[in-house]
Amino acid sequence: MKAVVTVMLKDGVLDPQGKAIGQALAGLGFAGVGEVRAGKVIELELAETDPTRARATAEAMARRLLANTVIESFRVQVEPA
């Protein structure tokens, strides 16, 4: 399976990068841009073939390493490789 872990700063945590991107887009003339948040995405190829177990593994990886749950939240998507 392929697992995609998306890690974003939690709501309410300052996102300096998102803020700067928003300002830059406005500077380029893109109108109607509201909040911008920047995060990370980690794509993993897993030998696991069962979607439920693949998801559980990816979530464990996110909690252990990929996300810093003090300030970040994550979501996991699982797809066939």
Binding site: P16, Q17, A20, A24, G27
Partner: protein, 227 residues
């Protein structure tokens, strides 16, 4: 030659650069703000190091889109001189004035240390005061200095003799250990085809004073002042 320093929010090595330029040119460079579009009669535009826009998103990405960069591009197209150091080099690649891109250092850590650079050609306005093949020391201070370009581009750069500097050992040898950020073909700096635009990662401007460890970087500025 009249030098100017282009300043973006978050740039922080402009003072170092101004000191190095003033030493060589005998007068202070003009400071050009990122919103300006009239460069007047400047002959040399220097994009110094730092963290323009915090290096958020990608190093140099946001600075490359500012109004002043239109003027910098026009200046380069007219055959004007442009020097980009560190973040300045990143901005020049992001703006498409030089090919390739600067990726995260191979070791994924910021590197602040002296490196040795080999001068690959001396028939340019930037390097005339060095001997062919000369090796000089320069501090590097970057997290994203890993030069990347696709194979065709690298072959073209080498074929057209546009590599300005390579990371080497103190004896001038290209080795993997001397290439700490993992740059493709040990490339530390490149020229534009007309040899008027130079981008490089290390900081010759921080080694122009014996008291601070040497004058290894001074020939770059002396070359420009004499050009």
């Amino acid at each position: 030659m009249k030098p100017g320093i282009v300043l973006f929010p978050g740039i922080n090595r402009e003072r170092d650069m101004a000191i190095a330029l003033e030493r060589a040119f005998g007068h202070a460079p003009r400071i050009v703000w990122h919103t300006e579009t009239d460069l007047g009669e400047l002959d040399l535009l220097v994009l110094p190091g730092g963290f323009s826009y915090g290096d958020y998103l990608r190093c140099g990405a946001m600075a490359a889109q500012t109004p002043v960069m239109g003027a910098v591009r026009a200046h380069a197209e007219r055959g004007g001189y442009v020097l980009g150091v560190c973040n300045g080099f990143q901005i020049l690649t992001e703006a498409g004035l030089l090919p390739g891109a600067l990726l995260r250092n191979a070791g994924l850590r910021f590197i602040s240390a002296d490196c040795h650079l080999r001068v690959e050609r001396t028939d340019t306005a930037f390097t005339a005061q060095w001997q062919q093949g000369a090796v000089f020391r320069a501090p590097m201070a970057h997290g994203d200095g890993n030069y990347f370009a696709d194979t065709a581009t690298l072959d073209r750069l080498e074929g057209e003799n546009l590599v300005a500097f390579r990371y080497v050992t103190a004896r001038g040898e290209v080795t993997p250990e001397a290439n700490r950020n993992g740059s493709a073909r040990s490339i530390a700096g490149i020229f534009s085809p007309n040899l008027r635009v130079l981008g490089l990662m290390p900081h010759p401007e921080d080694l122009v004073d014996k008291l601070l460890g040497g004058e290894d970087g001074a020939p770059l500025f002396a070359s420009l002042a004499a050009a």
